[in-house]
Symmetry: C3
């Protein structure tokens, strides 16, 4: 997420109560997770094993829970609880604005777009031309939708990431990550009924041009889906996945988080995908593997009684 205008690092440090180490003249331009940061961004790290990745990332400002050596030109904001400090910044610079009406005055709706009754359109939403938004759809704040997009009834675009930090020894154990990312739906996408597409934590969840979703599809936070994909009903995709162009997922497929499904891959119904898959091939099973390999395996299983008979005859 980018700030509306750059903010002096000294102001940030004072606001979150951090010790400022390194370049105190920096201007912060946004907030981001480690895998999304660009120059000017603030990021945070609170596990020692991720220190190096964070310090060497493109982030200019790192909120950190130990006073380590600061890379040249960057700045550290040192305090005990970087997660909470990060949340405090998100709440300040991307505050939740309760709706005052079902379709926000700050939303921009393109020509030829039809909004059916009982639709909710949040603040700062942008919707292109010639879209059709069916009844009882919810579009959270800051969502961006292109032209010729169809969204069927009951679908929810832009709910919060499912992302919590565990705090040991507390009665209420999980702290909520506040999401400040968006959902971006490109031109010519169709989303079925009863789908849920979460916003990114700090970056964007993207549904690529020409992609078509059947009903009850769940897309996790920050996931990026390519162009001309087809997802059948009840598919679920975890957070920060990357689904390349022309991927086909059949019904009830589950895709884990933080992985890549290569261009043109086909995943057969009810398969579960725990890790990245190469493009151009068909997959099946839970855990999914090459469909050809899996089909052979299913045949081998059927032959166990035959194997048993052979070894028993020999005894």
């Amino acid at each position: 997420m980018k700030f509306e205008a750059p903010v002096a690092i000294t102001e940030i440090a004072a606001f979150i109560g951090a010790e400022l180490v390194g370049n105190d003249r920096l201007l912060a331009t946004g907030i981001n997770e480690i895998h999304k940061v660009t120059t000017g961004d603030i990021s945070f790290v609170d596990f020692e094993k991720y220190y190096n990745a964070s310090l060497q990332s493109a982030a200019s400002i790192i909120i950190i829970n130990k006073k380590v050596a600061c890379p040249e030109g960057k700045a550290l904001l040192v305090l005990e609880d970087p997660f909470s400090a990060y949340i405090k910044l998100v709440k300040k610079y991307r505050p939740f604005e309760p709706a005052t009406k079902a379709i926000s005055d700050t939303a921009v709706i393109g020509e030829g777009t039809v909004l059916q009754p009982n639709v909710f359109i949040g603040n700062h939403v942008r919707i292109g031309r010639n879209c059709l938004i069916h009844p009882n759809v919810t579009i959270y704040d800051h969502t961006i939708i292109g032209d010729n997009v169809i969204i069927h009834a009951g679908t929810v675009i832009g709910a919060d990431a499912f992302y919590f930090k565990k705090r040991a020894n507390r009665e209420v154990m999980y702290d909520k990550m506040e999401s400040c990312g968006r959902v971006i739906i490109e031109d010519d996408v169709e989303i079925g009924a009863g789908c849920t597409i979460d916003k990114g934590v700090s970056g964007d969840t993207i549904i690529g041009q020409g992609t078509k979703f059947d009903n009850m599809i769940h897309i996790g936070h920050g996931t990026v889906i390519g162009k001309n994909c087809l997802f059948a009903a009840q598919v679920g995709v975890g957070g920060k996945a990357h689904i390349e162009d022309n991927v086909i997922l059949w019904g009830q497929v589950g895709i884990s988080k933080d992985l890549t499904i290569g261009k043109g891959a086909i995943v057969m119904a009810q398969s579960g995908v725990p890790s990245s898959l190469k493009g151009g091939e068909a997959y099946f099973g839970s855990p999914a593997e090459s469909a050809r390999t899996k089909m052979k395996e299913l045949n081998w299983i059927k032959r166990i009684p035959e194997i048993w008979d052979i070894i028993k005859k020999k005894q």
Copy 2:
């Protein structure tokens, strides 16, 4: 889908810009897919391997991409792109009518039926007597609902079929099939919360009398479900399936498209059904097979280490 009044074939030919071959006095009475056509219907075919099935079907008028021999008494409408011509007809004779209010004036609601707040009822919907439609339900245009039907909150009845035609070598690869079918829900049906039941492409999706759905059930376009079925939560059924009477599907079962589940079949939780099943039996697994066979197979798998030990001892 039937037209409100018959249309001269010459008018149809002129509208879609087709060459008319054969009987030019025909009156078209409706539009249908090949598996649903009756006399008077227009159908379309664009793959040579389906020409025969289409020409020999009950359809009186076939939109086709090659000038073949026309069966006696029928007519061909010849042009390059039958799919697009068919869509053009659907859009003309079953145009989408944007809602002007949450409950259409053209809807007919029976005596004793309760509509809770935030319900959407589209154009030309008919709902019988003593129904209870809970909040935030969406009922698309042309849906027909019988008597004593309960529909729980958030459910969507009549969204478009998930049906696209692939166009190679185009940036936006899929053309949308425009659905002109309906959903018909018979008497005494109960539909849980958060379900999605798609309309048929040209025919009807039917939920038979006395059938009961739990929450989050997806039913694809044109699927016909018999009487007194029970579907547990998160079941998904593909398009044009036929589920006969008294079928029980347990939670998270997935049923593929274009198949038949015989009367009284029981499919155990999380099973995946790729092809037709005979009635009166229990099934399990993904892909599903006889539950008894599958249970034996699971036991055989557990015995592989024992088999290994036996053959290792002999070496």
Copy 3:
């Protein structure tokens, strides 16, 4: 469910047309299922094999279809169809009250709670402080929600139990159980978008403090979920399950009804759980077993061709 005030058993007997056997001075204080009854409750039994359990339960009054010996101090209400009599009582003492507005005047909403547009809040609902209810959420009558609860868009809280009684030889085969239980959501819970949490049949469905749900999660009637649980997207849990504290269910997991998942158990994605699991361990597969055992089994399956080669060499 407890009555607003105790009701004389003679009044109950007259209302349902039952023969009263035993203590005719009893005051009924509520209606409950056999696994939830306390002193003063009315319960029902219609299968001979459950007579003993019912007669020896804490229920003071048993609606029963045979004149058996009445336990000391209790009362029997004898008639032909206990199920229908029970339903008649539920309808009388917890009648469905159609909404007159989207947010009922009888609902109590705490300070600092934000209700976004298009939310439905039923009769007698209580919501605590500092909650955020996103658009198009439906909260059925009698639901109780604590403080600091977030509910994302499109979610449905308190729909009816999926519970029907089969009646042989009837055209409409299933009679609906009328639910008079509630949903109780404790403090600091977050519920994702598009979830459905059913009310209990007579008792309460409970989501424990600090528990967090991702999107499209289904929870069956009367299920009790502990504190600080995490459920990923598209999880389904059947009715009357007991999920203890700190349980983690990954995406698309299915949990059957009437079982217990022990404290701290972790169930991996797409697993299906047919019976109780001990706490503190990880599980995988459908049917689920110890993840370690299951992983070994998956490896053994891969070795079947090797086994085949060995026995074939020896022949």
